[in-house]
Amino acid sequence: MARLLEAISKELLTSYGIATPKFRVATTPEEVAEIVACWRCPVVVKAHIPVGRRGKAGAVRFATSPQEAADCAKKLLGATVRHFPVTSVLVEERIAIGQECYASISVDASKRSIVAMVSTAGGVDIEEIAAKQGKLCTLTIEPFRGLRAFEARQLWVEAGCSGSLLRPLTEALTRLYQLFVGVDATIVEVNPLALNCERQSLAVGALIGVDDNALYRHPELADKVEPGSDRAWRPLTEREKQAIAVDRADPYRGTARYTEMDGGDIGFLCGGGGGSLLMFDALCRLGGAPANYSEVGGNPTEPKVFGVTRVIASKPGVKGLLVCINITNNTQTDVVAAGVVQALRDLNIDPTRFPTVVRLAGLNESVAARICAEAGIEYYGDDITMEDAARRIVERVRQTYLGLAVTQHV
């Protein structure tokens, strides 16, 4: 899932007929002061970053004058909130709210369906709403039929709505569903969905996540989504962007993913999705410090393995390289080995001095073994377990850099 920035989410909501308070994005306190001077109304100034719970992080501030708003912006701009540097703020009209509700459409994995959820207790975290029994009403949507207006109405009635609230809330929910389908969202959440004094519904807080895998049919979202952003908890680093470029250069064969860790000294080239989890756990338990997380799988091409290995080994502070994939089903281990050897050569790394351990078993492994042997790389097939390979690289790195005595065999 790729989480959209609030301004983009609100533009989408508006285009589907769901009103929002007026807003602008600004990058300097002066700009913020100008906007507020022009609007002449109380405002909310928010850090414009793709993370939730900004209020609890102090990144949502209120102001009544241009000067006050500029001060808020000054405090936010340049700060780092939940690992994201704030480079712009969203200035929004602060509206007089009659009632705060909650509405969302999302994919529910345990129900294996799309669900609509509503509550008349909005404005707080969904977990808090859910904790109050009977406050959160859920409807499983039949995907071919979609959400019909009467179903949306029934849901709001179930949640305790009546009178003049019912019509605007029903309309808002059916439009949210249209938006959800229209952009291939994984979640569309409006919280609070506020009703102003004129009983109009307004999307005050908005979160939209879109499906990375459906972007091919949404060219309109192309410049609004950063692919791979769900695989880091902060903005992507340069090396992560390089790895994404490597992966996307050949989108139809194999996967290579890379997430950088703070610090660490063991370059980590593991796979697939499950095997890499196992290896990272094993390294940590054995006292090793992975410099990155990665996964390669699905029979990647040699340029893909070369590219991602190059990214991994080029991170400053990397003192050794572990290559370990579960016994492969369809991944050609010789291709992986060739890509690794080529990357080390390209970086002028001598694997007889730079601790390198390869455990590659599966398709074409005799060729993989020969490629590694010729390059002077410590190679294992299925003569050792994956965790044994993790132990081996930790030992090699210690041996090489600390000169500690360790056992010679695994």
Binding site: V51, R82, H83, V107, A109, S110, R112, S113, I114, E127, P143, F144, D184, T186, D211, N213, A214, Y216, R217, D230, R231, A232, W233, R234, Y252, R253, T255, T259, G271, G272, G273, G274, G275, S276, L277, L278, F280, D281, A282, C284, R285, Y293, E295, G297, G298, N299, I325, N326, I327, T328, N329, N330, A361, G362, L363, D382, T385, M386, E387, D388
Partner: protein, 307 residues
């Protein structure tokens, strides 16, 4: 005996002329698995390693008796391929394709439930029943017997690669496998570990099951509840990977698309403690699977003494 696939399974491959699919056909035939037919629109009359190719599933069904299909088509065409298979009454649909749009998956899973068809995947690496020499999908590659030898242990895994590695650990423990099922690494999947476990419960050839779990979803928690309520009574030996994810900021995907801790849900530590409380034997390290398997199988193989 096995679950899901056995020697009587009549297999179709949709997208058979693709590079991966044709390699899988070669490996499967080499293993002794019979593949009846394949489909790639526009390629009627071709053969892939001797397997006839048709334009539509309907054509293939007219010419052959079929009950199982393997989806190997690219993500943008997967929805249509699955719907076509459902329209032709396939009983089991195995989806290998990765990165299918989630709303497409929600639709075909719904349609499959309505028509009583079992879907395994998407993003599965396949199913193998070595005692029957049947493998469906890439599972086992060119040398299935390296990891998958006949025996009495079932394997359920959210990771395709770890399906093989788990089976290999079973082999190292001196045993073998009845059926291994890669359920797929996506958030929306057709068959959950709990549902596969229910099949292993009634399979007389399965004496114990190995489960590979991961962060995110409620799949392992559902298994724990299933065991606790008596739904599964054989030994379950499990490992949950990705414990390091708990030490990193929430909401980040590590590994498969479904492997994400959100709002405190999906932590490996909770999965492990719930499974353990339900009576599962949880390995602290992956290597520990071997002694746990040996003791579980030793116990279940021991002659029953009446008291």
């Amino acid at each position: 005996m096995a679950i899901l696939v056995d020697a009587s399974t009549k297999i179709l491959i949709q997208g058979i002329t693709g590079r991966e699919a044709s390699m899988v056909v070669r490996h499967s035939l080499g293993y002794g698995t019979r593949i009846a037919a394949g489909v790639t629109p526009g390629k009627w009359g071709e053969e892939i390693h001797g397997v006839p190719v048709y334009d539509t599933v309907r054509q293939a069904c007219v010419a052959h008796e079929l009950n199982t299909t393997v989806i190997y088509v690219p993500p943008a065409f997967a929805y249509d391929a699955v719907m076509e298979a459902l329209a032709c009454d396939m009983k089991l649909i195995l989806i290998m394709t990765e990165r299918i749009p989630q709303q497409d998956v929600a639709k075909f899973l719904y349609a499959a439930r309505e028509s009583g068809c079992t879907i395994v995947g998407p993003n599965s690496v396949g199913i193998i029943s070595p005692g029957e020499r049947v493998k469906v999908g890439a599972i086992g590659g060119d040398n299935p017997s390296r990891c998958f030898v006949p025996g009495e242990v079932g394997v359920i895994s959210r990771s395709g690669g770890m399906t093989a590695e788990c089976a290999w650990m079973v082999k190292r423990a001196g045993s073998g496998v009845s059926t291994c099922v890669s359920v797929g690494g996506d958030a929306l999947i057709g068959s959950t570990p709990k549902e596969i476990l229910a099949r292993f419960e009634v399979d007389p050839s399965t004496k114990a099951v190995v489960l590979w779990g991961e962060p995110g979803t409620n799949l392992e928690e559902d298994v724990a509840a299933f065991i606790a309520t008596g739904g599964f009574t054989k030994p379950l030996i499990g490992y949950v990977g990705g414990q390091f994810v708990e030490n990193l900021p929430e909401g980040t995907v590590f590994g498969h698309a479904a492997s994400i801790i959100q709002a405190g849900h999906g932590k490996p530590s909770n999965k492990i403690s719930q499974l353990e409380a339900a009576g599962a034997l949880m390995a602290r390290t992956f290597n520990e699977l071997i002694p746990l398997l040996q003791s579980a199988l030793g116990a279940s193989n021991a002659p029953q003494v009446e008291t």
